[in-house]
């Protein structure tokens, strides 16, 4: 009962929004500017149909997701250990931190032209000397990987450092007085105690990566992905495809976030419930 009431309350604004949109679309009476709700839905319910000669909605979404997950994985693999190290060793923090802070104000989007100039459209297989690998890797450009990596870098690194420095002294001391070596203290105390913060960093980082890839795909030199679909639909004034793509971006972002939120809640339940 409460759940259904909650769902109903949550639906009020989206439905109002759709109604206003539909009125606006009818008044504007120009599908090249404001598409009707129905025509957007028609595209969304057929995600596997080829659109404007650039592959289907589903395929382009998959390409974007694959790019994001590849770059994001690299960011996790680099930033979590680096953050753990920086959080627990002062010297390393003093060496790395000024360098990191220097780049922090520079948003990932600002790097896109630079990355395109340096890496051109070289794909991952091409970087390893293979022209086509006939896998989805053929759509993963080194430049895009770099931008996504950069987008995930700061949230993951900074949250990991924050997590490590927040590990309570009493847990480390309790472990020490129970005979634990520094390596056991690291594996069994410092890492699990900072895991909630690390997972927050991972969740925020993935969200940023997903935003950044869309921007990267909109720039010249791109030939696939949901961002490309948007910009191409814009050029052809296919506003229903454009809006359908935007809806997909929102839904995928929502899905990524809520999946990680569930995972992180399960792994760090203790943090919320602890006094």
């Amino acid at each position: 009962m409460i759940f259904t009431k909650r769902t109903a309350l949550g639906l009020i604004l989206p439905l109002t929004f759709l109604i206003f949109w539909e009125f606006w679309a009818i008044r504007a009476d120009n599908p090249a500017i404001v598409p009707r709700v129905g025509s957007v839905i028609m595209i969304l319910i057929k995600p596997f149909d080829t659109l404007i000669g650039t592959g289907s909605l589903a395929w382009n979404t998959a390409v974007s997701l694959f790019r994001v997950l590849s770059g994001f994985m690299i960011a996790v693999i680099v930033c979590v250990p680096l953050g753990l190290l920086m959080g627990s060793k002062k010297t390393i923090h003093h060496i790395v931190n000024p360098f990191v802070e220097l780049f922090r104000p520079l948003c990932p989007i600002a790097w896109i032209p630079f990355a395109m100039a340096v890496f051109k459209t070289t794909t991952v297989p091409q970087a390893f000397g293979v022209r086509y690998s006939d896998t989805m890797l053929d759509s993963v450009q080194i430049g895009m990987l770099f931008i996504i990596f950069y987008g995930g870098f700061f949230p993951i690194l900074l949250n990991t450092i924050h997590g490590v420095s927040g590990v309570r002294e009493i847990w480390k001391e309790a472990a020490r007085t129970l005979g634990a070596s520094p390596s056991i203290i690291f594996r069994r105390i410092v890492f699990p105690a900072s895991l909630p913060a690390i997972l927050t960093g991972i969740r925020v980082g993935l969200g940023i990566c997903w935003m950044v890839i869309i921007a990267a795909e909109m720039l010249p030199g791109s030939d696939s992905g949901i961002g490309y679909l948007i910009i191409y639909a814009y050029e052809l004034a296919e506003m229903d495809i454009l809006v359908a793509s935007m809806v997909v971006i929102g839904l995928v972002g929502l899905l990524l976030n809520s999946t990680l939120q569930k995972l992180s809640f399960r792994l760090s339940k203790w943090e919320a419930l602890e006094r």
Binding site: W171, T177, P192, A193, W270
Partner: protein
């Protein structure tokens, strides 16, 4: 020198306070504790009794003086001690059984055996039905019982206790005191127990050392030789209580 006697010589400890003032927490403290002895260190808040325990436990890196025990290295001495804290120190991401089994990981004991030993100590503190519970699901007294079980599972020769029952209500405190005495007498450990509660010290100790502050030092030593269980209404008890109260008030 008796066998397995813990001897502290000239222990000093200075802290630098926030305003760059040097605070002498302990000065030239001398102490020896026999194997299997139950010693209470009694003192007001801030007299350095916690610092003393932390030094013996190896949690303070810089201090003056020496600690010896049967010619062992200082790291060996630290390893043979375990400190039970006043604040709750269980690891909240582990369940009760994993918490108790934690010290056994460092001893390279296989998982099955770890669980067996952990269950044994959990039973000893009377919490068998809570083995899968998380620490935050337990009351303060239960958490402190698990901490005790965890320290016992480590099987230290010397158990250091820093007002472990300080945050508990009177009834729980009484139960845990009895439990501690029972475990101490059956498992023959040396216990160094810090408290500011006179009655607690008389209830538990073979010997009470009274500490005074600034600088922290031992000003009085009293042997408690009347038999356990001790009762607050006994003459011996109340006489000792009065005596200690006077010493503490003058300290």
């Amino acid at each position: 020198m008796k066998r397995n006697e813990l001897i502290l010589k000239n222990i000093s400890k200075k802290f630098i306070a926030d305003d760059n003032m040097v605070v002498t927490a302990l000065k030239d403290l001398e102490l020896s504790i026999a194997d299997g002895e139950f010693v209470c260190i009694l003192g007001k808040t801030g007299c350095g009794k916690t610092t003393l325990l932390r030094i013996i436990a190896g949690l303070e890196n810089e201090y003056g003086g020496s600690i010896s025990l049967d010619g062992r290295t200082i790291d060996d001495i630290y390893r043979s001690c375990s400190l039970v804290f006043q604040q709750y120190s269980l690891f909240p991401w582990m369940n009760v059984l994993q918490n108790i089994g934690f010290p056994l990981e460092s001893k390279n004991i296989a998982v099955k055996e770890r669980e067996r030993i952990s269950r044994e100590f959990l039973k000893l503190v009377g919490l068998s039905e809570f083995e899968k519970s998380q620490p935050y699901e337990l009351s303060g007294g239960m958490q402190q019982r698990v901490s005790l079980a965890r320290a016992f599972a480590y099987d230290p020769e010397i158990l250091l206790m820093d007002e472990p029952f300080g945050a508990l209500d009177e009834e729980t405190r009484k139960k845990l005191q009895d439990l501690l005495l029972e475990i101490w007498s059956t498992r023959k450990k040396t216990v160094i127990f810090v408290t500011h509660n006179i009655d607690e010290a008389i209830l538990l100790a073979d010997r009470i050392l009274v500490m005074s502050a600034s600088p922290g030092r031992i000003i009085e030593e009293i042997k408690i030789d009347f038999p356990r269980p001790r009762r607050r209404l006994d003459d011996n008890f109340s006489n000792t209580h009065l005596k200690l109260r006077n010493i503490l008030e003058l300290s």
